[in-house]
């Protein structure tokens, strides 16, 4: 009999985009910038996945506008992913999007041995539905509690308060922390944030160290990597103020 004659496997790492597709995203090229940023980030993400063969990076995406729906429903290996453009139109059903993700994070279908998922919420506005109910539903799921939750605010109309609620408690110390919403006011900054989330964060989440339960270090389930040098302060923007 062969040894090991069982199914050994690398561990799945689910990366889920939650993308605001409300009508306001059509303005000033925001939707186009988001599509381009995600598309451009994929080769880097695939390279990180290749460097960490113990993790199987699987990407999904939810779009939310008048309602929420899976834009990319099947957990797709990043190497095989062909990004299909999102389109803007409607209002901002962010709460419904969180509920949709909550369903996906139930166990099953989530595998017991998965790595902590990475959830990236990107929005330019304020939720128009029951955000609290959606967040509450999401955070009832153990996998959501374990997830690395990041938020990117596109432009200055984004509701930083709800994005912070999605991430979790704000760090006690002021200043630089990816545990606050990342504020992008132009396409360049947005692309840098998306690139950071899809490479540095995916890399860190791919090889998590054990963590002492209930220790004061928590706040993030994996040690988040530093923001890129040009983006050390999430409120310091790079380039012109466009959005």
């Amino acid at each position: 009999m062969p040894f090991p004659n069982v199914r050994l496997s690398n561990r799945p790492l689910h990366f889920i985009y939650l993308c605001d597709c409300s009508g306001s995203m059509a303005a000033q090229g925001k939707m186009q910038a988001l599509n381009q940023a995600i598309r451009q980030s994929l080769p880097g993400m695939a390279e990180v996945a290749e460097q960490n063969p113990e993790a199987r990076v699987l990407v999904r995406a939810v779009r939310f506008a008048d309602g929420a729906a899976w834009h990319l429903a099947e957990p797709t290996p990043v190497q095989e992913l062909q990004w299909r453009d999102l389109e803007a139109g409607g209002i901002t059903a962010m709460g419904e999007a969180l509920s949709l993700v909550a369903d996906a994070l139930q166990s099953p279908p989530m595998e017991d041995r998965a790595l902590p998922p990475v959830l990236v919420l990107i929005s330019d506005g304020q939720p128009t539905d029951d955000f609290d109910a959606g967040l509450s539903r999401l955070m009832r799921e153990p996998w959501a509690q374990k997830a690395v939750r990041l938020a990117i605010a596109m432009g200055h109309d984004a509701d930083l308060e709800v994005l912070q609620q999605f991430i979790g408690p704000e760090p006690a110390r002021g200043g630089k922390s990816p545990r606050r919403p990342l504020q992008a006011s132009n396409a360049t900054t947005l692309a840098q944030y998306i690139q950071w989330a899809s490479t540095a964060v995916v890399g860190a989440a791919s090889m998590p160290a054990s963590r002492v339960a209930q220790s004061e270090e928590s706040g993030s389930n994996i040690p988040l990597p530093d923001l890129p040098p040009t983006l050390l302060d999430p409120t310091d923007d790079v380039g012109p103020l466009v959005w």
Binding site: M1, P2, F3, P4, N5, V6, R7, L8, S9, N10, R11, E50, Q51, N52, P53, E54, D112, R113, P116, P142, Q145, K146, M207, P208, A209, S210, R211, V212, A213, Q214, S215, E217, S218, N221, I222, P223
Partner: protein, 393 residues
Amino acid sequence: MIKAWQSGTSCSVIGAAHRRQGKPCQDASLSCQLGSGPQQLQLLAVSDGHGGSRYWLSDIGSNQACNAVRESVEAALQQTPLSDRDQWLRQLQLELPEAIQQRWLEAVQRDWQQRPESATTPFSSAVYGCTLGFVLLAPQWWGCSGIGDWDLVGISAAGEANLLSEETLQGSHGEATTSLCQADVMVAWRQRAQLQELRASDPLQALVLSTDGIRKSCATDGDFLQLCGQMIALESGDPLKQGLVEITAQGSGDDVSVAIVQRSGPRSTRLAHGPAALAIAIVAAGAGGWWWWQQRRPTPSPIEREVVQLCAAPERIKASLSQRKQQFQQLLQQPKAAEALLKEPERDPLGALIASSAGGSATLQACPPLKAALDAQWRMARKTPEQKAPAQP
């Protein structure tokens, strides 16, 4: 008549991811006999350092955990007759955890005081953080205790495997676990403590104690239980070590440790495999005839083992080498660095392999994909920055 325990075995193997990154193995394990005569007891232990930047001395922490449990059980053995099961249960629940934690804390404090960092940074046991699971094997009973995310599996004479102990954390987060570096965790120790009496008709054939890297390498818990049943058939030493190398390489990439003990008596044919069967099996698993040739040789060196492992999984070669670009550069700039790597190849087998490949290694002739990848990395390292820059349109 109650079947006797055979001598146990233990083994720790560095994780595939840690090896690639040049990090040390943060696991430790132990299997030993303590006491003598009617007070003879066998001890198995596994410890898993947390790793990560916050726990940067957890490789020392895990080794000290194994020392602490051995010393504490030795002390308890001098005071407590093995026939007094109630007292041993109390030992497993309360007295041993306190003694182990105290000894461990003192040991890591001593280690810290010898470090230059101690002049500027106050001591924190957290940097040594690790888990610890241990099993005591007496003629009439067995017991276990510990803290953290280790697993204990029992295997019956019929080959049926059952999970006997696992960590169940309420509201746990991510890779969270309880740890030796935590104060006030006696409840967590007590939850893992148990003592089981052995009877003549007891179906228990073997116990497999393991760190979490093994369970996390398996697609399902069913696969993990099946794997434990297969592991007890491996012979200790190189076959077991090579088996663990396969598990981490194909699975979680984490460091992996096991401690295994069996009872005398006939083993189910479902579990019986000799070394020849193992070797054939691994060939069948895809490692190829070259691997078989390697296995027939006496005790391969760490570099040879590294070659075997990489050659058995060619898709991982590029990922492994691309993370060592700086090492290739360093070896070109400081040829003496190669001597240090080759002097102690077990410390960084991949680094030693890279160092040995600089002048062409005979070992590599049998593995063309690895040789080609190493040659490509050396060519890249020798390029000047101008040559590396992409061509301008």
